[in-house]
């Protein structure tokens, strides 16, 4: 397993690295990659729900960012990267729709949905709370996957990535009002979805 490097850079350094990368300095761009690859991959995974697809989307996003770095006119580099990776995720989701592989809602022999599917269970022998937490994360991810793509990107940007409304509007390329509307609907639907996983929710988070 390769060593994953995590780098944090200041805002001033970020601007200098971007200018250097625009001039063709590949090392400067790779430092930016190291600084943002976790965020980009996390966003991609929350968007597509699969590791392999998230990996492909992340690689495609960084390659596209490097090739179109001259189109970056300033502002939030994080929002600009999220916009690129979001578009890459849309492409990945469309490709998956054309060639479906694993159904997200497996059914048993009787034709009924299996809520706790086998792929949702961690095969490793873990303590019970850890298993419960992982199952909760799978459940939330499952609810996110059921959201329309536009709503999903809004809630992932704001709630998962922690962007404010302005950055989210920049990343989505939509007005702030649109982000507000999408975010309200995106938060409403997972609430109904998570009611089906009430036993997985902590006691204080169980919805009525």
């Amino acid at each position: 397993m390769s060593l994953v490097i995590c780098v944090t850079i200041s805002f001033v350094d970020e601007i200098a690295l971007i200018q250097a990368a625009k001039g063709g300095d590949l090392d400067s761009f790779n430092r930016l990659v190291l600084a943002y690859q976790d965020m980009v991959y996390s966003h991609a995974f929350r968007m597509v729900g699969e590791e392999e697809s998230a990996d492909d989307a992340t690689q495609t996003a960084f390659s596209s960012a490097y090739n179109h770095l001259s189109s970056f006119r300033g502002g939030s580099f994080k929002a600009w990267l999220l916009r690129i990776v979001t578009n890459a995720c849309y492409d990945e989701l469309r490709r998956r729709k054309r060639r479906p592989t694993v159904p997200l809602e497996p059914a048993d022999d009787a034709g009924e949905e299996v809520e706790s599917a086998r792929w949702m269970v961690d095969p490793a022998d873990q303590p019970e709370d850890l298993v419960a937490r992982k199952e909760l994360q799978h459940a939330i991810q499952h609810c996110l996957d059921n959201l329309p793509e536009e709503f999903r990107s809004a809630v992932v940007m704001v709630d998962v990535q922690g962007l404010d409304y302005f950055e989210a509007s920049q990343a989505a390329g939509k007005p702030i009002g649109t982000i507000k509307s999408r975010l309200a609907r995106a938060r409403l639907r997972p609430r109904d979805c998570l009611n089906g996983f009430a036993e997985l929710l902590p006691s204080g988070f169980r919805l009525e």
Binding site: L26, D38, F45, T58, S70, G162, S181, L183
Partner: protein
């Protein structure tokens, strides 16, 4: 109390949780929360959902996503051709505007060209000179000379240094003749002869009335009436451009009338014969031709015009024409003061037509090519 939640209420709840409401809006929303238990319950549940979503762990990248030098599919800098896509669009727009200007300018240039071909200053100078000569000759000539009317100023004058015809040479002897002939200087001689009007069979009109009526000339009119001197027929006025500078159409009848008055001893027929010499265009006759040539383009100007101009330039080095000529050496025929041909500086219209056509085609090709290029570049740039 409202039991039904609207999408606006959920937007307010979401914005309230993210602290995105203004102070007034936030106070109003909190007032509603105090009195609306349904809104309070929805706020609580959506708040818990929001905390669950925000509690999702940040994932670590499974590997480093370095960009390797050999994996660069495209250079960082955008291809220059794409950057010039807006320039192609601008070039296409400018070419289109120029094309429209050239096309409409060509259409506007057609009618004024006939007037503009004859430079007014030269005519004025020559006319003034001729007037001066006429005044100087007044003592020797019994013929009345009048000041040229304004209409004369725009009438072209032909000067010819070639030998006069035999008739005039003969008639010249012993007769002091005027040296200046003005166009449209004298009204037509009224005639009381009645003419037979075709069609009616009974109406009798004088030549002047018939002329004023603007009707197409009938055979009886042609045979009986003299040549009108001041204007062509009315029906020609509607189609003939004004102030045509060609020496053929409008000038010929004027000369006839003037000569008749200024040279009473000369037979009119002999004077008419001489007016036809400088121009190969429709020969002016004693009777008005029902179908005179109205083509005003100088392309039909005969080659003798250049000869005339050359002679004119040689004899008048300062462009004064008749003023510098030796009047004694000039035959006292009306030719020396005849209508002047358009100057040789008039452009070759056929050449200009081809030039305009070439410019139009070039502009059209540039406009289309630049426009298509701009569209293709924008499509390839993915904009």
């Amino acid at each position: 109390m409202k039991n039904q939640m609207t999408s606006r209420d959920y937007e307010l709840i979401s914005a309230y949780l993210d602290d995105q409401l203004g102070s007034k809006e936030r106070a109003r929303f909190e007032d509603r929360l105090n009195i609306d238990p349904v809104l309070r319950r929805e706020l609580h549940e959506i708040g818990k959902t929001r905390l669950l979503l925000r509690g999702m762990p940040k994932l670590r990248a499974p590997r480093n996503y370095y960009i390797k030098p050999e994996s660069q599919a495209q250079p960082v800098v955008r291809r220059p051709a794409w950057r010039f896509a807006p320039a192609y669009g601008i070039v296409s727009a400018i070419a289109t505007i120029l094309l429209v200007i050239v096309i409409f300018g060509d259409k506007l240039l057609v009618s004024p060209t006939q007037v503009a071909l004859a430079p007014a200053p030269e005519r004025s100078l020559e006319t003034t000179t001729i007037q001066q000569q006429a005044q100087s000759k007044t003592a020797a000539s019994p013929a009345p000379t009048e000041e040229a009317p304004l209409a004369m100023m725009s009438a072209p004058v032909i000067e010819e240094t070639t030998a006069p015809s035999a008739e005039l040479s003969i008639g010249e002897t012993g007769i002091p003749t005027p040296t200046t002939v003005y166009l449209y200087a004298y009204p037509p001689t009224p005639t009381t002869e009645s003419i037979y009007v075709q069609g009616t069979g009974s109406a009798n009109l004088t030549c002047e009335e018939y002329l004023d009526s603007g009707a197409y000339p009938t055979e009886s009119y042609v045979n009986n009436c003299p040549t009108p001197t001041y204007t062509p027929y009315r029906y020609l006025e509607s189609i003939q451009p004004s102030a045509t500078p060609t020496p053929t159409g409008t000038s010929t009848p004027t000369i006839t009338s003037t000569l008749t008055e200024n040279l009473p001893n000369l037979p009119p027929a002999s004077t008419e014969t001489q007016t036809a010499t400088p121009s190969p265009s429709p020969t002016p006759t004693d009777t008005p031709s029902p179908t005179p040539s109205l083509t005003p383009y100088p392309t039909e100007t005969p080659t003798p015009l250049s000869d005339i101009e050359a002679t004119h330039a040689a004899s008048a080095p300062f462009g004064l024409g008749v003023a510098s000529q030796d009047q004694s050496a000039i035959s006292p025929t009306p030719k020396q003061a005849q209508v002047t041909a358009p100057p040789v500086t008039s452009p070759d219209v056929s050449f200009m037509r081809y030039l305009l056509l070439a410019v139009e085609i070039s502009l059209a090709v540039i406009a289309v090519a630049a426009g298509v290029t701009a569209i293709i570049l924008r499509m390839r740039a993915g904009r």
